[in-house]
C-alpha cells in the first residue's frame, strides 16, 4: 500500500495537476466571495460583521486539518521509515502556517466589533497561537539542521508533540469559560447555522481547501526537483 506514495508515481500526477486545480480554485473562490460578501444574509445580532466568518472559520479548520495530517505522516515516517512522508509533510506546512495566521488575524479583526477588543488571552485563541508556534518550529527544524535524518526525526517529533494541542483547540470552548463562541457546525450533532449561511461557508471552505492543495502540489514538486538536483551531482 505504501508503494502508492512512491515519488516516481506521484510526480506524474503532481506536475500536471496544478493548472487544473488553479482553474477550479479561481471559479470556486469567485462564487464563494459573491456568496459571502453579497448574497448571504446579515446576522440578526452581529449584523454584517458575521461575514468575517467566511474567511475565519475555513482558515481555522484547514490549519487544524493540515497539522493533524502532518503529525500522522510524521508518525508514519518515524515508525515505518517511509521516505516520501517527510517530503509530503514538509510540503504541507507552509499553507498550514499561512491559514493559521489568517485565522488569528481575521479572528482579531472580528473580535473588535463583537467583543470590543482585538485580542484576549482566551483558551481558544491562545491555543491557536500555540499551534502557529508549532508550525514555525516545525518549518525551522527543516532549515536549522544539516543532516537529512536529523531533520526528519526532529520535525516529526515536533509534529507529534504538537498533535496534543489539536484536541485542546477543539474542546477549549467546552472545557473553559471563553470569550470565543462554541462550535456552530458539528458533523455528529445538529448544526446551529442556517442553510443560507452554511452554503457560502461550505463553498469558501472548498475554495480554501483547493488553494492549500495547489500550494502543496507546487511545494511538493519543488522538493522533488530539489532532491533530483542533488542527484544530478552524483550521476
Amino acid at each position: 500500500m505504501l508503494n502508492y506514495f512512491d515519488p516516481n508515481k506521484i510526480f506524474a500526477f503532481t506536475s500536471r495537476a496544478p493548472k487544473y486545480v488553479f482553474f477550479i480554485f479561481v471559479i470556486t473562490l469567485t462564487v464563494g466571495l459573491l456568496e459571502a460578501l453579497v448574497l448571504s444574509p446579515e446576522d440578526y445580532i452581529q449584523s454584517d460583521s458575521v461575514r468575517i466568518m467566511y474567511v475565519h472559520v475555513p482558515s481555522a479548520w484547514i490549519s487544524l486539518g493540515i497539522f493533524t495530517l502532518i503529525a500522522i505522516l510524521s508518525f508514519g515516517s518515524l515508525f515505518f521509515k517511509n521516505k516520501n512522508f517527510p517530503i509530503i509533510s514538509k510540503s504541507l506546512a507552509p499553507s498550514g502556517l499561512v491559514f493559521n495566521i489568517i485565522a488569528l488575524v481575521t479572528g482579531s479583526i472580528w473580535g473588535k466589533p463583537t467583543w470590543g477588543t482585538w485580542w484576549a488571552w482566551d483558551a481558544r485563541i491562545t491555543s491557536m497561537l500555540i499551534l502557529a508556534f508549532f508550525y514555525l518550529i516545525y518549518i525551522l527544524a527543516w532549515r536549522v539542521f544539516e543532516k537529512e535524518e536529523i531533520k526528519i526525526k526532529v520535525s516529526s517529533i515536533i509534529a507529534i508533540l504538537g498533535l496534543v494541542n489539536i484536541p485542546i483547540i477543539k474542546y477549549s470552548v467546552d472545557w473553559w469559560s471563553t470569550l470565543h463562541q462554541p462550535s456552530s457546525v458539528n458533523l455528529l450533532s445538529k448544526t446551529s447555522i442556517d442553510q443560507s449561511m452554511l452554503v457560502p461557508l461550505a463553498i469558501m471552505t472548498a475554495a480554501f481547501a483547493l488553494f492549500s492543495f495547489l500550494i502543496f502540489l507546487m511545494k511538493y514538486n519543488t522538493e522533488l526537483i530539489k532532491l533530483k538536483n542533488k542527484g544530478l551531482d552524483r550521476l
Binding site: S15, E42, H56, P94, T106, P113, F211, T222, K228, N229
Partner: protein
C-alpha cells in the same frame, strides 16, 4: 447597492480588511512557492544541460528524471 455592500452597516472596514488580508496572504504564498519552483526548475535545466551525453542517457532511464524533463516548462531538452 454598491455603497451598501462597501459600508455593510458600518462593519465594512472590518469585513473588507479581513477579506483583503486573506487574499493578499494567498497571493504572497502563491508567488513565493511559484518563485521557489521556477528557481529549482532553472537550476535543474542548467545542471542537466551541462551533463555528458552518457550521463543524460543514464538520467533519462530513471522515471522521475524523465517526468521532470517533460514537465519543466523552461526545459529546452
Amino acid at each position: 447597492m454598491i455603497k451598501e455592500i462597501v459600508l455593510m452597516n458600518g462593519y465594512g472596514i472590518y469585513v473588507l480588511s479581513a477579506f483583503s488580508f486573506t487574499l493578499i496572504s494567498f497571493a504572497v504564498l502563491y508567488l513565493t512557492i511559484k518563485f521557489q519552483l521556477v528557481r529549482e526548475q532553472i537550476k535543474f535545466n542548467r545542471k542537466f544541460a551541462n551533463l555528458t551525453s552518457e550521463k543524460i542517457e543514464s538520467a533519462k532511464k530513471q522515471k522521475l528524471y524523465r517526468e521532470i524533463i517533460i514537465n519543466t516548462s523552461t526545459s529546452k531538452i
